[in-house]
């Protein structure tokens, strides 16, 4: 078996898990946002912004997945079909951080966003602070992204 299988598995983990987390988070936040909009449609723009915040993990996963795909030559031809198993597992390991952290952080960021949407519902003037709480959760996804990118591009 060629190592490229593991490399591609890594791409799947990065994009898949981070994407699942984002879908989860955006979903939870979206339910809260819809509730606010039924009461006060003028808050649509603000709650939409908050709903979108947990969406970034999916994009980070995509980012790592894309860099990995282009590194192993699956984009634009020249795929390294004879990649060693070790090499493939290295790519797999490099993709793990953003996959795992993306999943968990997006889920919790979604819950935090939902709570922040509650702030906007009651005190719309505190939007700046409300936005900050979900942004805190995202920090760890960014750190994981960083390590994934650095690892993938170093390979």
């Amino acid at each position: 078996m060629s190592g490229i299988v593991f490399a591609l598995l890594g791409v799947a983990v990065a994009v898949g898990m981070a994407g699942m987390g984002s879908a989860w988070g955006v979903g939870v936040a979206g339910q809260a946002a819809a509730g606010v909009v039924t009461e006060d449609p003028s808050k649509f723009a603000k709650v939409l912004l908050l709903q979108l915040l947990p969406g970034t993990q999916g994009i980070y996963g995509l980012l790592v997945g894309f860099i990995t795909l282009s590194k192993i030559g699956l984009l634009g031809g020249g795929a390294q079909m004879d990649m060693s198993i070790t090499q493939g597992l290295l790519y797999f390991a490099a993709c793990l951080p953003i996959g795992m952290v993306g999943l968990v952080s997006a889920k919790f960021q979604g819950q935090t966003s939902a709570a922040s949407i509650g702030i906007v519902a009651k005190k719309p003037e505190q939007f700046g602070k409300a936005m900050l709480f979900p942004a805190m959760v995202e920090t760890y996804a960014i750190l994981a992204l960083l390590i994934s990118i650095l690892a993938v591009s170093a390979l």
Partner: protein, 670 residues
């Protein structure tokens, strides 16, 4: 860069001038009224709540009338109407509204009445339609629903359960009451819930028959209509037509009020202004001939206001500095450029008493970091042009919105700059397009370097920018301490930290670890290494002993110092937090490349070109939107958590002057 100095202004004037004075103050919109709580035997408050409520009610009536007009006779609004801001109206116009206020309120009430009539008529139509619907299965019946009879016979009209046949009914009756003779059953209609029947029998059998039918589920029709159903439905239809005509009529009448729309808007604002005025009036303490009021006024405006008042009225105006214990409201004043980010500051919290306004310095940092995060020349240009055109096109835009757009316009320029530095033009669109459609790959080289090819380098620079930002924050704290003449605090909380951090950085740079990360091996001369050690150790010892200087207990003091020293991990995490500059910068570029790749996969023929264009436009719009959001949120975070965390707490109260708080128009002084 400043919080405007406020002064306290007290006015003592004649009661007969009070309305004129309040109008002048409201028009100028420079004074925040302080409600006076204490009353005494001479100075009392007058109760204005009734008149105020009347005005508020009228304002609401006018608002509702405007809404009704908007519903039936919509005003044409452009897509960008929210950017347009409120139109101007002269003071004379407001005066003319005042003259005809009662008539206008009657107009508004008339509109609401018509609206209510329409609603009632519509409800009536629904009710009638439901009646017609329930009579549908009875339409074949040619006698009244109440049933009639002849001299000897009785007709029972009613319904039994769905899908019951005549045979079943006959059989059931014959079985239980064979004595009933001359029974005639007939099905007149049916729907999914019921079968409608008539039963003719001799008068003497009526009660027995009805009993038997009831066991089969017989029920009299819900509407006891004493006429033939067909005729009745015709009558109902006539009623519906009449109601429809009524609605048309009401609508036509509402249409005739279309011209009143602007008047009604002005009327609503007029009553809103008056209600505000009466609220202030109710807070004034008045004697028989005079009244007193107090308020905060920006120091730059006090002289002008005083002169204006003294010119027009006989009164006494006292200006004094605000006493230490009072909590003055905060109004920011910044230059044209730096005022753009005032909203960023105020959404964190306005400066508390004694704090400096961080807006002006923060504006530069904000624009710088925002550009680094978005870092695509084409996106920058789009953002810049969109904001620039909007600002130029809609000069009467709401002031707060205009400031935000101006901030994003500057951020667009910064994004353009960093995009050129890092070689991002719609990601790698130039390379992809030239390769796909022209067969030869050309690209615009980055002026500095491409972060995707050299992420470690970009990470290093992100952290360097972060360090500068954080040092700046600590420096501002030092500036504030110096301004307050707290020299010891300045040395202990700022200088010692600077020493230790600089020492630590200098110790880190020549190590192998650092060298392997940045792939440059730096060797410092021995004296610099020595200096680094001295700075780091000196700073650390200083913090250990001086941080808990407010504590008399020496053990506690050292413990507090050690705890403060632990904050160095906080600095580490703060610096690492700036790695988001790299992450978000890469995100923009990589997603843009994904979009370009996707577009180019469809070949270089005509169809390929068309599809490429479509994917390109929508893909990049999506990417721009999502990354604008990301850059906005994370730049705010870097300002609020990392930068403000070093020196700024906020918590001031915004200046809320007594002014013409209008909804539809801005009133201009004639």
């Amino acid at each position: 860069m400043a919080v405007l100095r406020m002064q306290k202004v007290s006015i003592c004037a004649l009661k007969r001038d009070r309305k004129a004075i309040l109008e002048l103050l409201q028009m100028s919109g420079m004074m925040e009224i302080i409600p006076i709580v204490s009353e005494d035997s001479v100075f009392k408050k007058s109760d204005t709540i009734l008149s105020r409520q009347g005005f508020e009610r009228n304002a609401v009536i006018a608002d509702q009338a405007v809404e009704v007009l908007q519903e039936y006779v919509p005003e044409k609004k452009s897509l960008f109407s929210s950017l347009e801001g409120k139109p101007l109206a002269g003071e004379a116009k407001l005066k003319s509204i005042e003259k005809n206020a009662d008539a206008s309120v009657d107009d508004a009430k008339q509109i609401l009445l018509l609206n209510r009539q329409i609603a009632e008529d519509k409800a009536g139509i629904v009710k009638l339609e439901a009646q017609i619907e329930s009579l549908k299965p009875w339409m074949n019946l040619d006698i009244p629903l109440t049933g009639t009879g002849t001299w000897k016979t009785t007709v029972l009209v009613g319904s039994v359960g769905a899908a019951v046949t005549l045979e079943q009914l006959y059989a059931a009756i014959a079985e239980k009451a064979p004595e009933i003779e001359g029974l005639e059953l007939q099905i007149v209609g049916s729907d999914k819930d019921q079968t409608c029947i008539t039963a003719v029998c001799l008068k003497k059998d009526e009660i027995r028959l009805e009993e038997l039918l009831r066991t089969e589920g017989f029920a009299k029709p819900p509407q006891a209509v004493a006429v033939i159903p067909g005729t009745h439905v015709k009558g109902l239809n006539v009623q519906i037509e009449k109601l429809k005509a009524d609605i048309e009529d009401s609508l036509r009448k509402i249409m005739t009020y279309e011209g009143c729309r602007d008047t009604l808007k002005l009327l609503s604002d007029y009553y809103r202004i008056r209600a505000d005025k009466y609220e202030v009036l109710g807070g004034l303490v008045q004697s028989e001939k005079t009244f007193i009021m107090e308020g905060y006024v920006p120091a730059t405006q006090t002289d002008g206001l005083k002169n204006k008042l003294e010119e027009k009225f006989e009164l006494a105006v006292f200006v004094e500095e605000i006493p230490e214990e009072e909590d003055a409201p905060v109004l920011l004043q910044n230059s044209n450029f730096t005022s753009a980010a005032e909203a960023v500051t105020s959404s964190f919290g306005l400066p508390a008493k004694g704090e400096l306004d961080p807006t002006s310095i923060m504006t530069f940092c904000y624009i710088f970091l925002f550009g680094l995060m978005l870092s695509d020349a084409a996106y920058g240009l789009i953002v810049f042009l969109a904001c620039f055109i909007a600002i130029k096109k809609f000069p009467r835009m709401d002031a707060g919105l205009q400031k935000s757009l101006r901030l994003f316009m500057y951020c667009g320029v910064s994004t353009l700059f960093w995009g050129i530095m890092f070689g991002g033009y719609f990601g790698d669109a130039v390379n992809i397009i030239s390769k796909t459609f022209f067969g030869k790959e050309v690209g615009i080289p980055a002026l500095w370097f491409v972060p995707l090819n050299d992420p470690m380098r970009m990470l290093l620079y992100s952290m360097i920018f972060g360090c500068i930002h954080l040092y700046l924050g600590l420096g501002l704290k030092g500036y504030m301490l110096l301004k307050d003449r707290k020299y010891l605090d300045f040395v202990c909380d700022v200088v010692l930290w600077y020493m230790m951090l600089t020492g630590l950085v200098l110790l880190l740079v020549p190590t192998d670890l650092f060298g392997s990360i940045v792939q440059i091996k730096l060797t410092f001369p021995p004296f610099l290494n020595m200096l680094a050690k001295v700075l780091a150790i000196g700073g650390a010892i200083g913090i250990l002993f001086m941080s808990g200087r407010n504590s008399k207990n020496p053990v506690l003091r050292i413990a507090l110092g050690a705890y403060d020293l632990y904050n160095v991990t906080g600095w580490l995490s703060d610096v690492l937090s700036y790695s988001r500059l790299l992450a978000l910068g890469l995100a923009t570029g990589v997603i843009a490349s994904v979009i370009n790749q996707m577009g180019s996969m469809l070949g270089n023929g005509f169809i390929g070109a068309v599809l490429f264009t479509i994917i390109f436009i929508f893909g990049h719009l999506f990417n721009l939107a999502i990354n604008l959001l990301g850059a906005y949120v994370h730049t705010c975070r870097l300002q609020y958590v990392e930068f403000f965390g070093k020196f700024y707490e906020g918590g001031g109260r915004a200046f809320a002057p007594f002014r013409q708080n209008t909804k539809y128009v801005d009133i201009k002084e004639d």
